[in-house]
């Protein structure tokens, strides 16, 4: 029975000290009990002797607890004598007690309280701003190398990256685009029908898809897919010292890793966007012809009349900028990763959040700009 295989007995010695007789199995499971009896005995008087002659087995945990008790007793008096320990156990006790643990080199990390987090974040803002500026500066410098030293850019990666961001992402982007087209057309059809303005549904769908929804929805999906992948990949490379290894090979991570990704995404996002817009308009066509008395031919004709080159080109320009933003932000977050696996998770989240925010912000700027320019 495990309960019975551990016994402890305290004896008051003639000289005022306390002797503790321990017997049975002193093992990890009984570390608590052992520790408690030792503290009790120490509280009752000076612990002068530990008699271990009844001990059958003693493991590393028990050795640590005994060594700790001896150390505590030593602070206020002589070191308690350990007697009668079985020969094998004595070896381990000796090794454990040889030198006591030293105090921590630095304290435990403080708990993250809300106020502290706010304070730290605020004080870090300047730092973040500086590091973003440094990143952009270095990147501008590296971009020059595209022309002056084209060989220093890792071009061979570009097709693979473009395929992963573009072709591999196409199914989900197109599926979402189709649904967006359907939803837009359905909403437009119900509202316009009440006004008797059925003929304007194709215009509404075409314009809102090409000018706003197409580029934005595509970019959001790509930010979630490829942006997260980029940040996680570069983050893992950072924490496993691969980035350091690149640098020791005199390969600039910006040219080797960042530029190929920026190029791949700026190429792919406009293409994906165009495809998505076509599919969304197709979705709109299906719904509109089903719900309203419009033939597909009429729908397509009014779509063509509603759109001018700048509607599509304006969306395309947005897509180029969105692609660059996603790649730049995700790479920056990935390269800035600190710590281990947890750090990779944090920078992936940060990359997606920052990308989404910047997409919406950039879209607002575009809307303002286009309306000023009368596009």
């Amino acid at each position: 029975m495990p309960e019975e295989s551990y016994r402890v007995e305290a004896l008051d010695l003639a000289d005022g000290g306390v002797e503790l007789r321990l017997a049975g199995d002193l093992v990890l499971e009984r570390a608590d009990a052992l520790r408690r009896s030792l503290t009790q005995a120490a509280a009752a008087g000076t612990l002068t002797r530990l008699d271990l002659s009844g001990v059958r087995s003693l493991d590393g945990a028990a050795a640590a607890i005994l060594a700790e008790a001896c150390l505590a007793a030593e602070a206020s008096g002589p070191r308690p004598a350990l007697v009668g320990a079985p020969k094998k156990a004595a070896l381990l006790l000796e090794l454990t007690a040889q030198r006591p643990p030293r105090p921590p080199v630095h304290g435990a990390l403080p708990d993250a309280s809300l106020l502290r987090t706010i304070g730290q974040t605020t004080s870090k803002l300047g730092e973040i701003g500086r590091s973003v500026l440094t990143y952009l500066g270095c990147l501008a410098h590296s971009t020059r190398a595209v022309f002056s030293q084209p060989r220093s850019v890792h071009w061979v990666d570009v097709p693979r990256l473009a395929e992963r961001a573009g072709a591999d992402g196409a199914p989900i982007v197109l599926l979402i685009a189709l649904l967006i087209g359907v939803i837009t057309a359905y909403q437009a059809a119900t509202q316009m029908h009440q006004l008797g303005a059925d003929a304007y549904v194709p215009d509404l769908v075409a314009l809102s898809i090409t000018r706003e929804l197409g580029p934005l929805i595509t970019a959001i999906v790509v930010a979630g897919r490829s942006g997260a992948a980029i940040a996680a990949e570069l983050g893992t490379m950072r924490v496993s010292e691969e980035i350091d290894a690149l640098e020791t090979l005199r390969l600039d991570p910006l040219r080797f890793l960042v530029l190929p990704r920026v190029i791949a995404l700026t190429l792919m996002l406009p293409l994906l966007t165009l495809l998505a817009e076509a599919v969304a308009i197709g979705g709109g066509l299906v719904i509109t012809t089903a719900e309203l008395e419009l033939t597909p031919g009429v729908y397509l004709r009014s779509t063509r009349d509603a759109l001018d080159t700048w509607d599509v080109a304006g969306g395309g320009i947005k897509a180029v900028v969105f692609g660059a933003l996603i790649a730049l932000i995700s790479c920056e977050r990935g390269l800035a990763t600190r710590g281990g696996a947890e750090g990779v998770g944090r920078s992936t989240t940060a990359a997606v959040v920052a990308s989404l925010f910047s997409l919406i912000a950039a879209d607002a700027v575009f809307t303002l700009l286009y309306s000023r320019l009368g596009i």
């Binding site: 094998k88 381990l92 921590p104 080199v105 435990a108 990390l109």
Partner: protein, 247 residues
């Protein structure tokens, strides 16, 4: 304690080692030796059940290992494999928190002494990323020891350590073995550790795809007449002179 029967190991159906047969006796220090890349870590991972054998059997103890409950052995991975988001103390305390009912302050004190055993006392609040490679290794050992398992698997415990820390570690291993009867399986190619720790060994060879020598390493060094074996133990290059300088 451990019985390996006709074991083939490797990845994706491609064998690295075939028809391995050996046994690890209870309370033995058992060394798995061999050149870099020959499959020592793979063998260890197969023994602890992380990799599925391509063929053959690994038996640990008398009965099949329980699927749940506390881990039946402590393991040190070659990379240390510490949890990066936890401090050293938390890394070592984790198995104790999960598998024992000990009070938090008892665990804290056990962790401190465990870290002391591997010479890392004072670093309990450091994160793994703030440690050197050798320190991570030693922290991994402390974690492997936390549950006082009767069986330990250590993948290159002394790689990356200075001679003194390595000697301390050898002493710790020997003490654990002598005083607690812990069975310890060590993957290593540190000659000084091999001869300090002794015990029995198997020497793996990539070309032979199997064990080319077994027994007491000291005896093997002195008595083996196999060129590959003596070469390993006496640090001799296996490349013949004419291979090294092509003419």
């Amino acid at each position: 304690m451990i019985r390996i029967e006709d074991l083939s190991i490797g990845y994706d159906g491609r064998p690295l080692m075939e028809h391995l047969e050996f046994q690890v006796a209870p309370s033995e220090v058992f060394l798995i030796l061999g050149g870099s890349g020959c499959g020592k870590s793979t063998l260890m991972k197969t023994m602890i059940g992380l990799l599925r054998p391509l063929a053959g059997r690994v038996a640990i103890g008398e009965r099949p290992l329980a699927e749940d409950g506390p881990p039946p052995f402590g393991v040190l991975f070659q990379s240390g494999a510490l949890f990066g988001s936890m401090s050293l103390a938390q890394n070592v305390a984790l198995p104790l928190q999960k598998w024992t009912d000990l009070a938090p302050d008892t665990i804290e004190s056990l962790v401190r002494w465990k870290l002391r055993l591997v010479g890392l006392d004072g670093f309990e609040h450091h994160l793994p990323a703030e440690l050197s490679g050798g320190m991570r290794k030693r922290a991994g050992i402390a974690r492997a020891l936390a549950l006082e398992s009767p069986l330990l698997f250590l993948d290159e415990p002394s790689a990356g350590l200075d001679p003194r820390s390595a000697a301390d570690l050898d002493e710790l291993i020997l003490t654990l073995n002598e005083s607690l009867g812990v069975t310890i399986v060590i993957v290593t190619h540190e000659l000084s550790s091999i001869f300090a720790v002794g015990g029995s060994c198997i020497l793996l060879d990539r070309e032979a795809r199997g064990i080319i020598a077994r027994g007491d390493p000291r005896a093997l060094r002195e008595e083996s007449d196999d060129e590959r074996v003596t070469g390993f133990f006496r640090r001799r290059s296996t490349a013949k002179p004419d291979e090294r300088t092509p003419s």
